[in-house]
Amino acid sequence: MVDISARLAGDEPRSSRRLARDLAPIVFLGPAVLLLLVFLIYPLMSSFRLSLLAWNGLGHEGSYIGLANWWRLLHDGLFWAAAKNNILLAVFSVLIQLPIAVVLAVVLDGLGRGSQLLKILYFLPLLMSSVALGVLFKNFYDPNFGPLNALLEGIGLGGLQQDWLGDTHFSLASVIAVICWQNIPFYMVLFLAGLASFPAELSEAAVLDGASQMTIFWRLKLPHLKGTLRTGALLAIIGSLRYFDLIYVMTGGGPEGASELMATYMYHQVFASFQLGYGSTVASAMFIVVTVIAAISLRLTSRLETEV
């Protein structure tokens, strides 16, 4: 009696532990896999399927037209112009956001404890909703009432006044400036986290060896951030290729499609022109473009990392 109960008591935890070990991956991965299936894989598949239809998105499904939508997409100048705008956004995001974010992070990191307030202040743009930010900057850029043109006038640079959002030459650049302003804090935090793991002894040793702050930055801190920079660049590129919100709020892709991105073009096809089929083609093409460019940038940056 005692024997059995002792054995049971000894056995039970072991078998339940084995069970737990076998079940654990399923329990932990299950929800994630399920969410991915429902919200990523299924929509992806069904938008590929919808891209083969001529359908306005209402009532019963439209008619199957094979690859006609894809053929049209290949010859659609507006889509490729939008894709080019996405690439411009990606290039400028990387070239503007990352360097400024690195500088801010290094400076704030060097300030030590006193930088708490500044960190919070610099982080604020990221906490604001894009729609509110869009409306704010629409007023900022307003050529009749906006402070930007008034400021230019006030400091004697009236000649530089522009119709920032209504001129086809400036609308995309004007919104890119706001996108950069909003996103710099994100990369700043990323780099601050990267610098947190930078060993203090290293810079102390460098100082003893007579290295200047500049040398420490270029020779020690920047190489230390290499991996974080790579992550940041990839995030900026992918984010830019799928970008939607500030463009939609501030210019709606206009005027005359001058600031149209792939995502806003898709939105216009589906919701304004009632072409769910063609809009799905645009969405699927967007997925392919993003995947290909992300893969290429991964490849390129990984080579950089091994060489340096």
């Binding site: 209402l58 009749n144 209504g166 206009g254 022109s273």
Partner: protein, 429 residues
């Protein structure tokens, strides 16, 4: 121990979720909810709808109206998603025309003809022309609800008086007014064309003045000789660009957003003198800036030399918004009662108090300002519906895109007309 606690927890959770289910089930049994979506966002306009909903709830015990008020451009996207996802509201607003017909052809909208046949007294209150935009294949799919909305040119009377200007009746007069205003550094027209539809009004008026309503009707119905490359559309584009080159529009017009009040702000601050806009603008101004409303006047769009169109014709819609019942609504009869309540005499009186006149026969308007607007509209020999609402959506979008490009001087009137005609050949078979 911990396993026990976990099982207790899960039992509790399950109990709680059952309670929640039971709760919703009980609610669903007691109250039948009719969802209603519209795009009225000013307090006065919302109150008219809520009051009608209260009257309906009083006479239909057990029903509850869930009214939702959504801003213009957001509404257009939201309603489309709702129908596409088979989750349409029972009652929805539209401008009739091409987009509503898309929903009708997809069997998403309830045919109101039999309901109206049962209650001819109700139907006969409306001006007959007001059903044009909601009629498809001889059947009626909506009731005119909000306003008789023509586009007129609103202007600052005080400013005109100070500069010795009078409302221009002809094209030459208009150009002179523009010159005087320009010389005083005042933008002649406030225009916020980010959404593209405000600029489209200029093109539609010009085409109507130049070619009369038939030019557009023939092009849409693909009658022999009817074409979007008709000289009327090309000249409309030329006149429009003549205005742009004369500096008739406030700075930055193609980037300003009408939805956030960018055009009215120019009027309020005396930076612009006129605005071509639907008559709803007058009621918004009265609510938003009563002081400025006292200075507000209006005049019809001027005539164009050699034009075939009647200078009394207007563009706009008799109804502005129309209310329809979606085919998927579980309580169709009650929903029809509700849209009748939304357009009954009490609702009409409420809208009138808000400066908006429903297209009803013999409507008595005491407010002299609204009365004179309505008089202008009712003497119009024809009411041309906005092109972007009359045309099928794809073509309507193209019309707005090409017109914004005309405003931006980046396309010639001939090229814009050609683009429209090529798309029309595909879309309007």
């Amino acid at each position: 121990m911990s396993a026990k606690r976990a099982s207790m927890l899960s039992a509790l959770l399950m109990g709680a979720s059952f309670a929640v289910f039971a709760g919703t089930a009980a609610l669903a049994d007691d109250v039948k909810t009719i969802t209603e979506w519209d795009l009225q966002t000013t307090p006065a306009a919302v109150k008219v709808i809520r009051d009608a909903a209260d009257r309906f709830e009083a006479t239909h015990p057990g029903f509850k109206v869930a009214d939702t008020h959504i801003q213009n451009d957001a509404y257009k996207a939201k309603i489309k998603i709702a129908f596409g996802a088979n989750d349409a509201p029972c009652i929805f607003s539209s401008w009739g025309g091409g987009p509503l017909r898309e929903y009708v052809h997809a069997n998403q909208v309830l045919d109101l003809t039999p309901y109206l046949a049962k209650d001819p007294a109700f139907k006969d209150r409306f001006l007959p022309a007001s059903f044009g935009a909601v009629t498809a294949d001889g059947k009626i799919y909506g009731l005119p609800a909000e306003n008789s909305a023509a586009a007129l040119i609103f202007y600052n009377k005080d400013m005109f008086a100070k500069l010795g200007l009078t409302p221009p009746a002809t094209w030459e007069d208009l150009l002179k007014v523009i010159d005087v205003l320009k010389s005083k550094d005042i933008a002649p027209f406030a225009l916020a064309n980010k959404g593209k539809w405000p600029g489209s009004m200029y093109f539609v008026y010009l085409a109507d003045r130049i070619g009369g309503p038939d030019a557009f009707a023939n092009a849409v119905q693909r009658k022999p000789g009817g074409s979007f490359e008709d000289p009327a559309f090309i000249e409309a584009g030329k006149r429009l660009q003549e205005l742009v080159k004369a500096g008739a529009f406030a700075k930055g017009f193609n980037g300003l957003d009408w939805d956030v009040g960018a055009a009215r702000r120019l009027l309020y601050s005396d930076k612009a003198a006129m605005e071509l806009m639907g008559v709803w603008e007058a009621s918004i101004i009265r609510g938003e800036n009563p002081d400025f409303a006292k200075k507000l006047g209006f005049f019809p769009f001027p005539s164009v030399p050699g034009g075939k169109g009647d200078p009394n014709a207007v563009i706009g819609t008799l109804g502005d918004n129309f209310v329809s019942v979606s085919a998927s609504c579980p309580y169709r009869d009650a929903a029809v009662d509700l849209i009748k309540t939304l357009t009954d005499d009490k609702a009409a009186a409420g809208r009138l108090a808000d400066g908006r006149a429903m297209p009803l026969k013999g409507i008595k308007i005491e407010d002299p300002f609204v009365a004179s607007m309505f008089a202008l509209i009712s003497k119009a020999p024809s009411v041309q519906l906005w092109y972007d609402q009359e045309l099928p959506p794809k073509l309507g979008e193209l019309h707005k895109d090409t017109t914004q490009a005309l405003f931006g001087l980046s396309v010639t009137p001939e090229a814009a007309a050609k683009q429209m005609e090529e798309a029309a050949k595909e879309e309007l078979k």
